[in-house]
């Protein structure tokens, strides 16, 4: 069987090459993303430890912010580090659409079923 990862074809990602100049630009972007991810993580810790204790925000707000920040971090990792942002549109949809639905499902099940479990616990404990 012919191995297509050995075939050099212009339309494949195999010869996604770039020169020294472009490399510098890409590396600069990567360092930027690193800084953003680090700052977001530090901010999350700060929120979880101090804002929660001092009551700067309500716990509900903090939880929502956690989820939003996590999704932002995930987007940076998937689109920049995993290069999905540079792929064709159809591949992007194949990967991202199921998860957009799945995250909605996750939130629904967490809240709806969780409340139901809580109700059962309170009733029959």
């Amino acid at each position: 069987m012919e191995r297509d990862d050995l075939i050099v074809n212009d339309s494949y990602s195999l010869n996604a090459r770039h020169g020294e100049e472009e490399g510098k630009k890409i590396r600069k972007k990567l360092y930027m993303v690193t800084a953003i991810l680090t700052i977001l993580t530090v901010f999350e810790i700060f929120m979880g430890v101090y804002f929660k204790r001092n009551g700067t925000f309500t716990w509900e707000t903090i939880k929502l912010l956690f989820i939003v920040l996590t999704l932002v971090k995930a987007a940076y990792i998937v689109l920049i580090f995993m290069h999905l942002g540079d792929e064709r549109k159809n591949l992007k949809y194949v990967v991202l659409l199921p998860y957009a639905l799945f995250i909605l499902y996750l939130i629904f099940i967490g809240l709806y079923e969780g409340l139901s479990v809580q109700h059962l616990n309170n009733t029959f404990r």
Binding site: S11, A16, L37, I77, V95, F102, E113
Partner: protein
């Protein structure tokens, strides 16, 4: 990176002879694998979310459970987990730099950055080993009360506060007291509680020299050791009353003695294992910790092994002969995925 292909009409795109997604077979399959693997983690986190949301205030708070640093006494909430997260993010960055070097056919660069990635992965695994051992070992242990009682506690501003505890309430020892108690129990020493103190009289250690501290045991043979009693209320849970923060209230002396004597039988727990834990009333807490972080750690271990193989292949010039470094890109996808999962585990297990 795709997008460099010539424009093809839609019916031509799917009629064979070329990759409709503009990527090679191997990379495509790596993406499919990651999409399906993410569902496994998604399932675990969903189950976790349901149980966590369903038990509301009874669930332990991450920053109160994970607040130790190796070799240090005191409270450093979430600092260790933040450090682990940082290590993993940095190793993800070195990975993407290896991919970038590969695009320039820079063999030395690939080897350098792959090497750093492997080291970062090993550091993360090491941190996880310490965290697991700390979690299993516990920090003081806890027990349930057999009867309801009222005790005089002290809050963190040293103000006295009367606390009503129901029967079955979960209370904890401080780590010094708990470790002394656990040690005494393990060695079959005589334990006595009086005058607000824990008094341990070492048993005769004739046949206990397996541990190697026989001489130590003999020196202290008959001398009872005393530890001040100190009980912590709401050690791991979030508790508010009338807008007042009631976490980590300490009870000492006679009051602590009353609590120790009110211990329900068979409820004393040190640390955590698969059937009991000191952190939560629900065993699911410990089980989710073991399973979710364990499953993720197992992925990290696989990632490190695969990265090591690619590192060696790059060193031997396999990819240079092949004419492209796409293999680095493929394992990079897996490694970033491991980082991605950790971002979610970090939020949902440790923060929320």
């Amino acid at each position: 990176m795709a997008g460099q292909a010539q424009a093809v009409s839609k019916d031509q795109l799917w009629s064979g002879g070329q990759s409709p997604f503009g990527i090679s077979y191997g990379k495509m399959m790596m993406w499919y694998f990651l999409v399906s693997d993410a569902l496994t983690f998604g399932g675990l986190l969903t189950a976790y979310g349901v149980i966590r949301h369903g038990s509301a205030d009874l669930w332990p708070v991450g920053e109160q459970v994970f607040e130790s640093l190796p070799g240090l006494h005191g409270s450093y909430p979430l600092i260790y987990v933040a450090l682990m997260t940082f290590i993993l993010i940095i190793s993800s960055v070195t990975m993407v730099l290896a991919v970038e070097a590969g695009h320039r056919m820079d063999k030395k660069g690939v080897i350098k950055w792959m090497g750093y990635t492997v080291i970062g992965g090993l550091f993360f695994l090491g941190s996880q080993v310490w965290e697991w051992s700390h979690f299993i070992h516990g920090s003081g242990g806890g027990f349930q009360l057999s009867a309801p009682m009222t005790v005089a506690a002290t809050d963190d501003h040293n103000q006295p506060i009367a606390m009503e505890l129901t029967g079955g309430s979960w209370v904890h020892m401080t780590s010094d007291l708990g470790h002394a108690y656990e040690h005494a129990m393990e060695h079959g020493d005589h334990i006595e509680i009086s005058n607000g103190k824990l008094i341990v009289t070492p048993a005769a250690h004739g046949d206990h020299d397996a541990h190697g501290h026989d001489a130590h045991a003999e020196a202290h043979a008959a001398v009872p050791q005393e530890y001040p009693l100190e009980i912590v209320l709401n050690k791991y849970t979030l508790e508010h009353k009338d807008g007042k923060d009631l976490r980590k209230l300490t009870v000492t002396g006679e009051e602590a003695e009353k609590i120790m004597k009110n211990m329900a039988s068979n409820t004393l727990v040190f640390g955590a294992n698969l059937s009991k834990n000191e952190y939560a009333v629900q065993q699911q807490y410990a089980n989710f910790f073991f399973f979710i972080t364990g499953f993720h750690g197992f992925h990290v271990l696989q990632g490190v092994i695969i990265n090591l193989i690619i590192f060696i292949m790059a060193m031997r010039g396999v990819f240079e002969r092949r004419g492209h470094y796409e293999m680095v890109e493929k394992v990079g996808l897996f490694w970033h995925f491991v980082d991605l999962v950790w971002v979610f585990v970090f939020t949902f297990f440790y923060l929320v």
